[in-house]
Assembly symmetry: C2
Homo-oligomer: 277 residues x 2
């Protein structure tokens, strides 16, 4: 027999639900996605599902029917009825006794939330402040996994500094991406962002930002910015699913240009809207 | 209102328990310990509690009374009544809506299991095979956190190769530690193990192994082994709380010496027993 204690209560293991023995909590052994809808339509649904399927493959979680995931997302989204919704979901490798090696009988657990996105026009109009934080993350940030403690620590640090987001700096002094966003800068009239080889997430919003840049004739170079370059950039911004493009007006305390969203950023925001049909 | 879906079931958020909204599952935002008892007495309890307190501090989980943790462990251990027990516990930053930035009202969640340790004399007599795996982990492996996906992937890989444990190899070709153990080698009559500066866990068992080595006159050098050195070592072994010292008889398919536990390893196992009072 095995004894389990939850907070100050001892319970026989037979009486606790599989949620307490989820490999997600013991190991972060799972992957997730965040989607949003605009006016009742989920944006870039196929891109997110394709990335999710890749994440599952990369950590070898098998037995997931991606079309079932699609149906569940749609079912919950319709039930929630929010025009502008944020949809979060994860799949873990399953529940079982805590052992690094998965139990052969473990079956993936699915969990999803839908919440309403509030109006963010003020945030978009004013822009945000960001701070930097060492990139302590593992070497497979291309996988959207539940191992997010360094992201939490970075975000806690940025909040203490009165900032909205933390931007990771790697050992070479290069800015990789935000704790929960992709990072962009406009330097000498060129749009710069880290290459997908720089141990970053293949951000869906990043992909659409690059398309928008191409559409408006803004040259894109996939090369990480150095900290010093970012502080002196013409414009900086973040790309994140739930808010698409957000201007950065302060970087580690330095105002960016006149500390107001820049013209290229505003043009990209307008161009991005065309993808939202 | 927020909609939650658990597997194929939609539930209003008010009806789900805090265990589904645990920051442990969303982010691996927590730390853990594993203890064992020998013949009814918990081994190195103070060492483990001190390390746990340090892990909590390092990720800034506040409001945990370490003496309360001690009492809970003892209560569950006594209730379980196993002479040779394995005690696992973790504390997460708490439950709340999924946001990297913790909710100010989040209160730490405690979870513990006690299980019976089976006789491992066969394993100790025969030794185990290990394989290597790239060290993909984050840069703060000194913190015993719930971000353990690379350890899971390593152990899955080693199991496929018929091995008992995976040993991490860093970018410089150095062996850091096992996916769930400390790693030691005896090369030219000297006991080698990674320095605590090599981004490894300050293993409690490692500390006692080093004390045992000092006691039997075996010189200790804290310098990581290279893969090539390990394959040709006189002896190799693992140190892990639940099994103290386990000989490695095969390394990436190469037999170590005559593929039987070596003499120094056996002496260390005997010497280690003296710490178990």
């Amino acid at each position: 027999m095995q004894i389990v204690m939850i907070n100050d209560k001892i319970v026989p293991i037979e009486e606790i639900g599989p949620e307490y023995l989820d490999r997600g909590i013991f190991f972060g052994d799972g992957v997730y996605e965040v989607l949003r809808s605009y006016s009742g339509k989920i944006f870039a649904f196929d891109d997110h599902l394709a990335r999710f399927e890749r994440s599952l493959d990369e950590i070898q979680i098998t037995g997931v029917d991606i079309q079932q995931v699609r149906s569940r997302v749609l079912m919950a989204f319709e039930k929630a009825g929010f025009k502008d919704a944020r949809i979060y979901f994860h799949i873990t490798r399953g529940s079982g006794p805590r052992d690094h090696l998965p139990d052969k009988n473990a079956r993936p657990n699915f969990f999803l939330t839908v919440s309403e996105l509030k109006d963010n026009s003020k945030l978009k109009a004013e822009g945000v402040a960001v701070s930097t934080y060492p990139d302590l993350r593992w070497k497979r940030c291309d996988i959207k996994s539940l191992n997010l403690l360094p992201n939490v620590l970075a975000r806690m640090d940025s909040a203490k500094k009165g900032c909205w987001e933390a931007i990771f700096v790697d050992d070479a002094g290069l800015l990789t991406e935000g704790a929960g966003s992709a990072f962009f800068g406009i330097v000498n009239g060129v749009l710069r962002t880290s290459s997908l080889k720089a141990n970053i997430l293949p951000s869906v919003t990043r992909k659409y930002v690059i398309m928008a840049a191409n559409n408006i004739g803004l040259k894109v170079v996939e090369k990480s910015l150095k900290v010093g370059e970012a502080a002196k950039a013409n414009e900086l911004f973040l790309a994140v699913t739930t808010r698409d493009i957000i201007s950065i007006v302060k970087f580690d305390g330095h105002p960016i240009a006149d500390a107001k969203p820049g013209n290229w950023t505003k043009q990209l925001i307008e161009e991005f809207k065309k993808f939202i049909v």
